[in-house]
Symmetry: C2
Subunit: 586 residues, 2 copies
């Protein structure tokens, strides 16, 4: 047996044993210190950074070298997924590297909710069969429900217990709409009914456990989308699924395990039995919901780019492999056309956008930028490939909006950075990024064309944090894509920005985006100042709303159907427009 | 390794090797010579008789001795389930002992059938998605079907293949009613659609494979109900299921394996792939359908004797374990009240009994005797425990209506026996039994009280075949039960036998029962001669009709619901009536 090496982990003060040659990332996983592993431990994302307090500091090479140099962290920082254990060491986990820390991500705009879920429980008394009336138990039950045609699945009928011989007996019946019996239990237990609302994002997955009786959120759990191992964005995951026929199942399995893990966390936090969860409502973009369902995604990546389904009927959650009530249902929020997914349908439902009069624009800033324009009673949608820059990916110093992330910035003879929880700055999240770009433009560190004019062609934020020219190019592409989409769709339907009654921003920015800076960068056109509202994670808020209200589902399905899709990328003018939009500013 | 012993099997002329001490029944099973094993090889039913042409003839003991003495077969016949191999032997299989020979059992009255099944296939052309119209495949399909709300199960959506890039493409869609898509295939295959009609009887199981396009029966397979191992009649199987909690599953598994075996036989005969069978319609009595579905039968055996379900919604056949199309449905023909099962509902459907005007009586003579009275628009039903005598069980010389069974008898200075296929008489089936009892009464060999007056207190038919006093008692009980039921229900509702417009007899007797003899015995009351019709296996005929016609299902469910159940056994007068009815004659 090989000799074992002691690794001390700070700030926990844990000591763990490692084998020579083992990677630090693996050792930390084993010690239940969960680090961000966006790139699946391939040394590409730089999100699993640790400080080597004592111990060997091997020479830096390749990607790791580039990543650490960009952040001036070469002296004592290393990526845990690249650090091979050779001798005893003490390592400090940076707050921003911790996966668990994402739980502060916002939970989305919470509209007033009506609790009228698809799954309901009723307590009933039914007469026991007698010699004079030896009725079949199921017939008596259908009568008592007043639903003679409700479907009783065989597995429910199999579980029916022999009623007592005389008098009446109490049952609790769990129904799915007026269509189907999900469960029959003896005694009264109608308060004990739960549902799951899931925002399955390309980068991040958020799940909530709700009571389907009170409508309250009982617990919340968050994790980076584990498919990041197979590619940071949708396109690279679709490509991965082409490589061989098992890869779709690999992607599916990866997200399924993640979801089941989140469910374990949710039920443990709320002390609810997991087989009491009777429905899961899942809001996700088209690629994510196809993958989760194990439905072929080839057609999403190849011209003419179309989905297999837009709407799926509710189906048994067990067909996904989710470990809930054995007959729990899964409801996938319907997609709007092939490119615009259920996350947007959910966002529209949460905000009530489609039901209001007047002109409005709904902008979801995630890995994709989806845009929905309301002009009177008409709805038009388009999407742009913004890339993951706003979510803290693809930049040398980007990170999710977790403790240690620069969330806001001002100027006081130099950058004045505000981080989440006031921790030392570890990187930039979306809102901080917009502030810094706007300030840099204002201070002349950056030209409107995106060229860094600051000394050393770097925008230096702290000793260890700066934006490179490459970073700025990524931001220009992201801003340009969104700006092009918004401009083109407004022009197409003859709505000027000043005539917008509302401009809703959903997605990564939460509610802390500085409107003036966003305008200066070019993310928000020249709309009336009071028109702008931040929705935060409206996909999650919508999943929650559609979980709690079955009538709202029918409405959301109607909205998804009537939105007209506008394909901008196929227009001849798109490329010119896009190049022009790369210039920062409105 | 032990020495092996050669056993020669006639008339095949096969030679097989056996281990010393092995039972002949096992050796024959291994050699694919399937014998009747009603009692599961426990030496009780006497149905696996063979003649030992050469080889050891061990001394007879116990049940085997009694069974063979009753048939005067002690010299050279033995039960194969009791015969231990000790030395080489040549054995002859009697035709009546062969399980496969049951295939001549009648297929039931075949009413004119409308082909309008629940499962249908349509070939469609749908437009390929294009850049201008990148519609989701499933949306285009729903449009083409004109069924926007049809449910597409996830497993169907998963199987959707990428359509070609341009033009239109052909699909064949298999639908379950207007509710659900069962399958989507590329190309045209709408002719290739099959269904299963099953009569799951207490003693015998018959299954047919039908084309759901032409409505034709393509193959038929029959086997004794394998649950006979656990008891010959319903009551003994219910008792068995009480003994421990695994026994219900044992019973279920036994019948499931049998059904899957029959399906293998059906598809092999008809050269149809088994995954093209999209629905199974199963007609069975209440106990058999509860057991097949794995639903608790305790309440059927204990006062107040009630069922768990009367009607089950169609459910996936895979939930039963039937190996058909992966999404094939199972439709269990609904029961009429707790005692009268789906076999009777099916029989009523096949005969159109409930739809005709006037007075009528429907009598199903199986192990139970079920009686349905129609008086104008009203329907009343009751059941009596006839026992298995009419099906050839429980008598020393009884057998199913298979080659070698005495089917008819006349008198020409002695019994003149007619056997099926003209083979030497092996035993009596139901119709022969009725003839012989009627002749014996007429010839003074038997008193109306059931006492044998013939010399030796035996009614001798051939050298090896005779009816004992015990056999006559069994027949008296069976006839008496049916007679009591018919008499009481007619009296209860004020219908005299002479006022019956029709008297339908379904079940074991097929169409060869002699009406005059049946009257002499007391099975048929004094009804107008032209009122009597024999339906044969009307349960199978009904399963076939309900498989081929979805509208007829709704009608049959309505009939099942509106029949009023009359519990005769709980009447104070029942016992007196029953004792009186034991006397042979009208």
């Amino acid at each position: 047996m090989a000799e074992s090496i002691t690794i001390k982990i700070l700030p926990e003060g844990l000591s763990v044993q490692a084998r020579p040659g083992e990677l630090l990332g693996e050792v930390l996983t084993r010690a239940a210190v969960p680090l961000n592993r966006y790139c699946g431990g391939r040394g590409l994302c730089g999100k699993c950074l640790v400080r080597i307090v004592s111990g060997p500091l091997p020479l830096l090479e390749g990607d790791e070298k580039a990543l650490l140099e960009a952040r001036s962290l070469t002296t004592d920082h290393r990526l845990s997924c690249r650090y091979e254990i050779r001798a005893p060491a003490t390592v400090e986990i940076l707050p921003g590297s911790r996966a668990a820390a994402i739980s502060v991500l916002d939970a989305g705009f919470c509209p007033p909710l009506t609790v009228d879920p698809a799954v309901k429980s009723f307590s009933l008394e039914i007469p026991s069969p007698s010699l004079a009336s030896p009725r079949a138990v199921l017939d008596s039950l259908r009568d008592a429900l007043g639903l003679p045609h409700i479907v009783a699945p065989l597995s429910v009928v199999k579980d029916i217990r022999l009623p007592p011989k005389n008098g009446r007996f109490s049952l609790t019946v769990c129904l799915y709409g007026e269509n189907e019996i999900l469960d029959i239990e003896t005694g009264k237990s109608e308060e004990d009914l739960y549902g799951l609302a899931v925002d399955l994002g390309t980068s991040t997955v958020v799940a909530e456990l709700l009571s389907l009786v009170s409508g309250k959120t009982l617990s919340r759990a968050v994790a980076p989308n584990s498919q990041i191992t197979y590619g940071a964005d949708v396109v690279s995951r679709l490509s991965f699924s082409f490589q061989n026929s098992d890869n779709l199942e690999r992607l599916r399995n990866s997200i399924l395990q993640l979801l089941n893990g989140l469910v374990s966390e949710l039920v443990a936090k709320a002390a609810v039995p997991r087989n009491r969860i009777c429905e899961a409502v899942i809001a996700a973009n088209t690629a994510m919901n196809h993958i989760l369902c194990g439905v072929a995604v080839d057609s999403l990546a190849l011209s003419p780019f179309h989905a297999v389904f837009s709407r799926l009927d509710p189906f048994p959650a067990s067909e996904l492999g989710l470990g809930l009530h054995p007959r729990a249902k899964a409801y996938v929020v319907p997609n709007i056309k092939s490119f615009i997914g259920g996350d947007i349908t959910a966002g529209l439902a949460a905000s009530g956008f489609a039901e209001r009069p007047g002109n409005g624009l709904f902008l979801d800033l995630g890995t994709n930028g989806e845009i929905v324009l309301r002009k009177g009673k008409h709805l038009y949608a388009t999407s742009t490939a913004a890339g993951p820059a706003f979510e803290g990916m693809s930049l040398s110093c980007g990170m999710l909006a977790v403790p240690g992330a620069v969330q806001k910035a001002g100027w006081d003879d130099g950058f004045d950075l505000k981080t989440i929880d006031g921790l030392p700055a570890q990187g930039l999240c979306g809102t901080g990024l917009v502030d810094i770009v706007a300030l840099s433009l204002r201070q002349g560190l950056l030209g409107p064309d995106g060229k860094i004019t600051a000394p050393g062609r770097k925008i230096v934020l702290t000793k260890s944090l700066s934006l490179t020219q490459q970073d700025i190019r990524e931001i220009q592409l992201a801003v340009g894509a969104v700006k092009t989409g918004v401009r083109m769709i407004l022009r197409e339907f003859g709505v000027s920005p000043g005539r917008l009654d509302e401009f809703l921003i959903a997605g990564a920015f939460g509610s802390s985006l500085d409107v003036e800076n966003a305008g200066a960068v070019g993310l928000i056109p020249d709309v009336p100042a009071d028109a702008v509202t931040f929705l935060g994670n409206s996909s999650l808020a919508g999943a929650r709303k559609l979980l709690l209200s079955a009538p709202d589902r029918a409405a959301a399905e109607g909205v998804a159907r009537r939105i007209e899709h506008v394909s901008l990328a196929s227009r001849a003018s798109f490329q010119d427009e896009f190049v022009g939009a790369m210039t920062f500013g409105r």
